[in-house]
Assembly symmetry: C2
Homo-oligomer: 474 residues x 2
């Protein structure tokens, strides 16, 4: 067991009283994941500047202490809370949130890593700008970089990686790597910031970032489409991209069971399509910086959709509901909670190539209901970018009391996705203890070896990260 | 001196007769860069499949031969032709150009690395799709990845990195790294393909790629703007991004001297603004997948620009010329040639943060004309993404016969750009022998060290690459 006292004393040499927490009551909230996971922390360090983050890592190096970085704790793969050893220092970045420097001419912003997406977009709003990552959660910018967050507008605006211009990283050796350039074009060799995007903080702690931000749309329109099968969704997606692709921001698809569960548990929701829900429903969302004076977005969408509804146009597209108030998004953002209200949830964050979405959805549902007839399959997701959140829901009394079936079906669904459909076992939630074994199984030896070489370079003491992205044990 | 015979014999075991060139007459065209550079090759290997590229690298490993990869040979930093040692095998990818697999539903394409941008866009056209990288040259896809090509539409569509979904790479050990996934969302740790983007082929030879492609615009409009100073260009850029940002594809700025030289030497060009050229001219280009039925792009642009011309709106914006035929692009793509027709050219491929463009342009011109009064400064570039191609032009009789001044002013301009303005010494041309010394000077030790660790991992024998991106000599 590690003695926390000399470590805490060393941290207190440069951090103020509320910058180091040791009392169990204070530490408790840093030991739990938002939805999953629980561990035990050695103590909590809350530095408020990049140099204090680096100094904290120097202390960890001196004492050989492992570090668990925590952003807004909204992650879903167990990568934010400490493990059960009681030997990890939680490095919380919530106080690293003073700087939001907006440059409207450059259309960029420099932020500290502990700033949340919500805080950033609030600061950008008066400039008619936004960071176009649309999520149900409100993570910190640093966590968004470490997991390369996607969301519902990725098909139009890209992921975090595609909006990231520069970063500053506190490295495990306690130095600050300054790659904070706001340049959009800078091809001078290795783009070092890429190493820290989506790698779960394994190589360093992001302390600041420069992001390119986008002009805020000045008009938006949402619509529902009723679809008799998944192939109709793909045909509609292709039609929309060809006709109004510039304005198409989101293309979300919900299976009937998902819509049904959400409508039963949700708060203040409109019911699209009346009593008779279609097998699939799509939420279409368009936005534009052009005003209605030059572009009537609602008319453009409607006139794109009406011919698509005609017989012989898109087989399986049976209805369209315009949703000028965007109320569909209220429903969309309540799905995850409503699934949890329905019963126990086994959630998957998957992606496959877009053309494979219908076949994968059908195969996964067939597999799950054949092996586990007590589950309801609720899938929904960002079909515009190949993402699908597959969920198995059950009421505990109806399922076997032995939980072994959960592991089994999880293995089978992941195998189906990755091996049969060329998909991903983690589309946008990253890698953490919850899916470590699938990383181990499905990552090629060459990628693991490259990752191990980088970890050996940046963190030979293996103090950062809850998981392992190389072939070596922690 | 290396004996080429056993190496050539080993290559001929799996490559056909025209797959290995040794005759000086055949080899000559692989020994010269397109615009700059000249060397001597041991021989030329022309594999036609990814497995033959890997097998070629295995031969190189066996004999300890260094390799110079050549794509379409359109590079401008000396990274495509072999050095003068006569000990490098040129690995030409021109025959690796059979596969162009388009998936219109996925909106992706899988291509072999030797396919050119022009060939790819020709194949995509019937699907109303394109790879939205707009260049004056016609490089191969593999070379575009190795240099992370930018071009004139980067501000709207991103660089190669932002359009790249997957790659296959022949590694220096002679194995193929398969990261050819077409997934848009796949956050499963290190995104290994990023290591091969913009790193000049130092870690491996890209053999295939999966690219996301874009719906082709169905209408486009171009216009000229006359500007009295650089600040007016920035104000106009911001105005356009706010009003018609979704459609704004290019924002190119040309200084008066550049426009003047191009008009004097160009072929079949319209003369904007008559006899009296403004200090700066901008080419604005908008495109949209929406048709004129829903969006009158020309009217939108005109009605955005007319209020901007009014007194008190944008200071220094003095004229607008609509260019419905897009003839301005003809002029834009002739600039480089026309500068070379005017005299000797010292060319810089730079970028700075957008707000710094006017001050940098002024400072660079003042520096150059003060130190070298015999030069004319011709700058132009992609101001929309902070890029600027600065050129010093002179007629040899008017310049000192001793070339030492060229090195001196080059050092001073780069120092001004990087040190005073936080800019890049290579915005979009990459790193090669021509700018190696600026890489050495301006790259941080931490980035060089990360690069060296990766090179040690992938290529401990140092057989790939003409330059060095780590701190170590070749």
């Amino acid at each position: 067991m590690i003695d926390a006292r000399p470590i805490v004393a060393a941290l207190r040499e440069f951090l103020p009283a509320d910058g180091v927490l040791t009392e169990p009551a204070d530490v408790a909230r840093y030991e739990r994941g938002w939805r999953y996971g629980r561990g035990q922390a050695l103590a909590v360090a809350r530095p408020a500047t990049p140099t204090d983050v680096a100094a904290t890592l120097r202390v960890c190096r001196r004492f050989g202490v492992r570090v668990q970085v925590m952003g807004a704790n909204t992650g879903l793969v167990g990568a934010t809370n400490p493990d059960g050893s009681g030997e990890q220092l939680v490095l919380a970045l919530e106080r690293l949130s003073h700087e939001i420097e907006i440059d409207p001419i450059d259309r960029t912003v420099r932020v500290e890593a502990g700033v949340t997406l919500g805080q950033l977009n609030e600061a950008l709003a008066p400039h008619q700008l936004w960071l176009p990552i649309d999520l149900s959660a409100d993570p910190q910018i640093g966590g968004m970089i470490a997991t390369n967050t996607g969301g519902t507008s990725l098909m139009r605006y890209g992921d975090v990686r595609q909006n990231l211009l520069g970063i500053e990283v506190a490295l495990p050796d306690g130095t600050l790597l300054d790659a904070l350039s706001p340049l959009r074009k800078n091809n001078t060799g290795l783009d070092v910031k890429q190493l820290f995007v989506g790698t779960s903080g394994l190589f360093g702690v992001v302390t600041r970032a420069v992001l390119q931000v986008a002009p805020r749309p000045r008009q938006q329109i949402t619509a529902w489409a009723a679809l008799q099968h998944g192939e109709a969704a793909l045909a509609l997606l292709q039609h929309l991209e060809q006709q109004v692709g510039d304005a198409l921001t989101s293309f979300e698809v919900l299976a009937r069971a998902t819509l049904d569960v959400t409508l039963r548990h949700g708060t203040d929701l409109d019911r699209p399509f009346g009593a008779d829900l279609p097998p699939y429903a799509a939420i279409l969302h368009l936005g534009s910086t052009l005003t209605a004076r030059h572009l009537d977005l609602a008319a453009a969408l409607q006139e794109t959709l009406v011919p698509a509804l005609e017989p012989g146009a898109i087989d399986g597209l049976t209805d369209i509901l315009m949703d000028p108030g965007g109320r569909a998004w209220r429903l969309r953002h309540q799905i995850a909670e409503c699934l949890h209200a329905e019963g126990e949830v086994l959630a998957f964050d998957l992606s496959v190539p877009r053309p494979a979405l219908p076949a994968f959805a059908a195969a996964a549902e067939a597999l799950a209901t054949e092996r586990c007839p007590w589950v309801t399959v609720c899938d929904y997701g960002h079909w515009g970018d190949g993402g699908t959140h597959l969920n198995l829901i059950w009421r505990p009394p109806e399922a076997p009391s032995d939980d072994a079936w959960i592991d089994e079906i999880q293995e089978q669904i992941y195998a189906l996705c990755v091996q049969e459909f060329g998909g991903s076992f983690s589309a946008e939630h990253g890698v953490g203890p919850h899916n470590q074994r699938y990383y181990d199984r499905y990552t090629s030896p060459a990628v693991k070896a490259a990752c191990a070489a980088l970890r050996q370079h940046f963190d030979p003491g293996r103090r950062l990260g809850t998981g392992r992205l190389g072939p070596e044990p922690i």
